[in-house]
Subunit: 135 residues, 2 copies
């Protein structure tokens, strides 16, 4: 598998797994829906501002911006296993054109979000390194 193919597979997956680090140093992991926008992984939460600050992944990225995002494929035929991992830095966007664009990308990708688009904030992850493997 080449990098371009790995990034394509990552982008086409409807779900990814986001690992971040808590202020106390323990890891945290959560599934996320996302859109890949160039070299940025776009996710949007739907919370009131006060609750958003307390959302674990938002809190984590505020204290430790480094995150790791995984897309993987399981198959009973292990020759067909593969995974693609993006290591990067997260940042929280509470308002402005970057949030508007993030909401637009997510609602364009997921019809499930269209009836009531997420309010934000956006958690944008600037990818610094791709790693991938195929069986």
């Amino acid at each position: 598998m080449e990098l371009s193919e790995a990034v394509r597979r990552f982008a086409e997956s409807p779900v990814a797994h986001l690992a971040s680090v808590r202020a106390d140093g323990a890891p945290h992991i959560v599934p996320v829906v996302f859109a890949l926008d160039g070299a940025t992984i776009v996710t949007v939460v739907d919370e009131k501002p006060k609750r958003a600050r307390n959302l674990r992944r938002i809190e984590n990225v505020a204290s430790e911006p480094r995150v790791s995002v995984l897309v993987d494929h399981y198959d009973e035929d292990w020759r067909r296993l593969w995974w693609v991992r993006a290591d990067g830095r997260g940042r929280i966007v509470h308002e402005g054109p970057e949030l508007d664009r993030a909401i637009e990308l997510i609602t364009a990708r997921y019809p499930q979000e269209r009836a009531r688009p997420p309010r934000g904030p956006a958690l944008l992850i600037d990818v610094e390194r791709w790693r991938f493997w195929a069986g």
Copy 2:
């Protein structure tokens, strides 16, 4: 969803996602095959001793035993989404009856491992907390 059902779904998934923390404080994430043995998540790698010590997840658990393991289900119908997360402490077992049992559990669960069982070491995760969510 109740805890017993959450743990059952976790145990039945053929693959989980393991988040650990690197010595430099950044998160790391990798898919793993596993078996749930009571309150312990059992995984086994297949490496020569020297290479095993340098394997990222092994190195990470040696410096920071806290890990987080996720199983999740994606569905286009978001009412059917669910995830189950186990937070716990990892420990590396290089030899002895715990390694033997781990190899036995993994080869019993995965026919793919039977032709050439993994040598070890085992990464055993003692679960301290279950968290789960269903749409």
